[in-house]
Structures are given as C-alpha cells and as structure tokens.
C-alpha cells in the first residue's frame, strides 16, 4: 500500500498524525504501539517556560464531544528538548513540536531553541488556543497578526512551519491566505471551538475557566467544511483535524482536500485510535486500489 503523503518538502510515511494536546509528548504511547508507525506526532503545546495550566474542572463531556480548558499545561521547551526529544528520536518518531506563546518575541525564542535540536520534522504554530488569557486566539482570528507570527517563526527556524488555525476567525480563509503568504509550509485546521456549559443545579460554569474548547465528533462537519474552504483558497497543504475517530472520518477530510489528518480527542477514548484510523485507510486504499495521496481533494462536485 502506498500511503506516503507530502507536506511541502516533507515526506510522511502515511497521512495519520496525532493532534496536539491529545497525545502527550508521544512517549506515553510507547507501550501501546510503535509510535514510529505514525505519519507524525504533534506534541502538547510547548511554551518557553513550564506552565501548570488552569484550575480544575478542566474537562466536561458534551453530546458527542467534550469541552476542555487545560490552559496549555506543559513542561516547557527546555524540558521537552532534554527529557522527551532524545527518546522520541530513539523511537524513530516523526516529531512536530506544537508551539504556544503570548508574544511574537516568545514565539521566536521558542523556534530558535528548537532549531538547535535534531529530529524535528516541522513545527506547528498554535495561534488558536481558546483557553489562555493572552495570545492564543488573539493571533488566530486576525490575518495580520497571524501572518506576523508566521513570518517571525519562519525566520527563526530552518524547519518547515505549519500554522494551526482557529475556527473562530470570521473568515478562516483570510487567515489561511495570510499565513501562506507569510511563509507557512502547511496549515492545520481546526483547533477547538469555544463553548460554555453551566450546571443547572449549582448555577456554576462546569469548567473553572468558564469557557472551554469543543472537540470530538460533534464538530466534525464544521471542521470538514473549513478544511474544504481553506483548500480552495490556498496552494499549500492542509492538515485536517476535528472529530476524527475512524478511517472514514479521515478519508472524508482527505476527499475535502486535506493532505494529512490528525487524530485528536479520539485518542482519549482509545489509545489505539490513531492505529485504527491508519489501518482503516490502508484497507480502504487496498480495496479501492489507490494510493493515499489519490484521495486528496477528490470530492466530486457537479
């Protein structure tokens, strides 16, 4: 089965990646399966300094989905480079660090720090985290700001730069085009959509952060639509994410134009979810006599 896909100059063994924040630093999955089998691993969002994250409750299940407000708890880029990256390299993983910062300067510092390392396939710039007070969404809903971050990170690193887009930009295609022009090699779409849930007995928000990001199968139709729109607007590859839990879900994103996909919340319900998706795509391609890349953008519109 030819499952290889290209994201710009980067060749991935297959189109199945894992989404940032839903796969830890990758090493947590070592005992479940051989993580080098994945097309790539987007790490938990990394910041310059470690962050403890938001107070609990941080998550809440909703109809066919979940709200989260983790608040980018992470060990910081330094600990990542020291404690996680060497092991990831050993395991042969394709690593895509996901970057979060609240200023352009910090994004640059992050990118520069990672640039000193080997074994990184690309960096994914998160301009779309809904659960932090500074940065995050502010960059992601404004084409000019998003382009600014993108250009700065591109300059600070030799690695390909992917930008993770927010579904909350009024016109996501404007942000997409701005990032393309600023030098992004690929776009990941979508991050979570902000939601709110209230306990009708206590009258309190169900998350301490009040709002949280909605993910899971509930948002899949919205994510597919946005990926489709973005693919029509840009020429760089788009990586689809949002509600993928089966090979069919992934194939839907690829038909809509995605060159690869990321499995997110589905990892929570089953640590083998990404492998199930990968094996399903492989079986599908086998049955249809197709290479994975033959699916990209092949939705029939007439």
């Amino acid at each position: 089965m030819d499952l290889q896909v290209k994201i710009g100059e980067l060749s991935l063994s297959n189109p199945v990646l894992t989404a940032s924040g839903t796969f830890g630093y990758g090493i947590e999955f070592e005992s479940f399966f051989d993580i080098s089998r994945l097309g790539g691993i987007c790490t938990k969002g990394l910041s310059l300094l470690p962050r403890v994250g938001n107070p609990p409750p941080r998550i809440r299940e909703t109809a066919s989905g979940m709200l989260n407000a983790i608040g980018l708890a992470n060990i910081g880029v330094e600990a990542f480079c020291k404690d996680k990256l060497p092991r990831l390299r050993e395991l042969g993983a394709t690593v895509i660090p996901n970057l979060y910062a609240s200023s352009v300067e910090d994004f640059i510092a992050l990118a520069e720090r990672l640039d000193r390392e080997e074994g990184i396939a690309a960096v994914e710039v998160n301009v779309s985290c809904p659960n932090v007070t500074k940065g995050g969404l502010a960059f992601g809903v404004d084409p000019v700001a998003a382009a600014g971050v993108t250009a700065a990170v591109c300059k600070a690193t030799r690695f390909p730069v992917w930008v993770k887009l927010s579904p909350e930009a009024g016109r996501i295609t404007d942000v997409a085009c701005a990032c393309e022009e600023a030098g992004a090699q690929a776009l990941s779409a979508i991050n979570t959509i902000r939601g709110f849930a209230i306990d009708t007995e206590t009258w309190r928000p169900l998350l301490a952060n009040r709002t949280g990001g909605l993910s899971g199968p509930a948002i899949k139709p919205i994510a597919v639509r946005m990926v489709w729109e973005i693919c029509q607007a840009v020429r760089i590859p788009v990586i689809g994410v949002g509600g993928i839990a089966s090979a069919e879900d992934a194939i839907e994103f690829m038909l809509a134009g995605a060159s690869a996909v990321q499995v997110g919340s589905a990892n929570f319900r089953d640590p083998m979810a990404s492998m199930t998706v990968l094996e399903g795509i492989s079986a599908y391609c086998e049955r249809k006599g197709l290479a994975a890349k033959d699916l990209i953008g092949k939705v029939v519109l007439d």
Partner: protein
C-alpha cells in the same frame, strides 16, 4: 515518583459475563479476559461499551474490585454513562483499558492498615483488603454512608477485615460519620497505623487531617473527571498543597493525602 512496579495498560475488547445488581443503582459488572489482567489494589479501568456509538463519547473510570481472568467493577448510577453500564447484559462487549493509575502503597509490616471507605469509595479498599488478606494481614475497615443501603459490598469487606459501620441515619452501625470511628481506630493502633481512604472529598479531607494529627501515613484515592485515564489529556488535575497540580490518573489515583490542597 513511580516507585511501584507498574504494568503497562492494555486496551482490550472483552465481554461482560455477569451483572449482579444490588438494588436499582448499584451493579457489579464482571468481564472475561483471555489472558488475566494483572492489576494491583487501587488501580482502575477506563471502560466504554462498544455499542455506545458517538455519545457518550468518552470511557468512564471505575476502580477494580480485583484483577485476574474475570475482573470486576462496582458501578453506581449517577448519569448517562453509568446508566448504560448498569443496563448492559452478559455478552455485551466493552473496551477496557487497564490496569491504570498508581496503586495503594504497601503497608509496612509493623503498622496496622486502617481502611476508611465512603459510598462507592469502598471499591479500591475492598481490593486492598483482599490483597492484605493474601499477605496474612487483616486490616481494620471503617465504612460509612447516609443509610444502610449505601453500604454496598459490606459483607465482602467484612470477610476480609475487622469491619465497623457508620450511617448518618443510624440504620446500620453507629449513628454518625465514619470519621468518628476513625479516632477510635487510630487510638487503638497507638501511632502504628497506615490509613487508606476513598470516598467523598470532604470525608477524605477529614481523614487526612485526622491521620496527620495522629502522625500516621495516609493515602487517598482521588476521584475526578477523566477523559483519558492514562496521562495525556491533562484533564484530571487536582490542586496540590504548593499551588501546582497532581494528575489523578498518573500520579494517583492513590497518593499521599498530604500532597493535596484540601481547601480548594
């Protein structure tokens, strides 16, 4: 952090082979494994029906009553997920991820284990009592609830321990809170106890405070909302005494009670 010998969790699809319903709201579910589940007391599973479709989306964390070829859990119905578990029939298939979490620490041989259970918090303690029995140790167990109906599985616990009951309405054991029994048990142990507790947060907080006063070790089993159960969602944060957080699924469920900020 991890001084215990943790077996890697396995994700399996296994059939339910028994459902023992204790009243309408409590159900013991027993699954059948091909190769035995090697679990330690205090560990838990993430469980989800293969026929749940798209909603409920996530699996549910449940303490193990024991491992082996036929591991079981006790489910109390509180919402949609537990309702589905309770309605399952033998033959229904479940995805089970286990064993998860940090188990109870061993009790040093010159100490008396005191187990303090509230409601379904009894589960990891019953597993502990069974393990202690195999080691030839008979723990003291204190078990409390609102009324006698809340004291599910108390006979099973009694078989493994010197059991004392407390109910708020006096329908079983002494009238009052289980923490009242604890002072007495701690006195009896005369400074040579190790306390293990699982139950409502307020109860655990009092237990930790009492143990601290008596200057004996005290482990608690944390209950929080969980998405993954194996350390990657970071959803199960519990405030720590020093302003940070512990992750209940990976640094717990069983953890030194003094690590937790009980005022939050």
């Amino acid at each position: 952090m991890e001084q215990y010998d943790r077996r890697p969790a396995r994700q399996v699809t296994v059939p339910l082979v028994r459902r023992d319903s204790i009243g309408a709201s409590h159900h013991v579910l027993t699954f059948e494994y091909d190769t035995p589940l090697e679990a330690q007391a205090g560990q838990f599973v993430m469980v989800r029906g293969t026929n749940w479709g798209q909603s409920p989306f996530l699996p549910r964390p449940m303490s193990l009553l024991h491992g082996g070829k036929r591991p079981s859990i006790l489910v109390k119905v509180v919402g949609e997920g537990t309702r589905r578990l309770a309605n399952a029939e033998p033959g229904d298939l479940f995805s089970v991820l286990a064993p998860l979490g940090r188990p109870w620490s061993p009790c040093s041989s010159h100490r008396v284990p005191i187990l303090v259970a509230g409601g379904v918090g009894v589960c990891p303690l019953l597993f502990l009592a069974r393990t202690l029995k195999q080691q030839g140790i008979r723990p003291v167990a204190l078990y409390g609830g609102r009324s006698s109906g809340d004291l599910v599985l108390y006979e099973e616990l009694q078989a493994e321990s010197d059991l004392r009951l407390a109910t708020e309405d006096g329908s079983a054991g002494v009238k009052g809170k289980v923490t009242a029994l604890l002072d007495e048990a701690l006195m009896e142990a005369d400074g040579r106890a190790t306390v293990y507790t699982c139950g409502p947060r307020a109860m655990m907080a009092s237990v930790v405070a009492a143990a601290r006063k008596a200057n004996v070790p005290c482990e608690v089993s944390l209950e929080t909302v969980m998405a993954c159960g194996y350390g990657v969602c970071l959803g199960c944060a519990v405030p720590r005494f020093d302003g940070g957080y512990v992750y209940a699924c990976s640094e717990g469920a069983c953890i030194d009670g003094r690590v937790i900020d009980w005022k939050k």
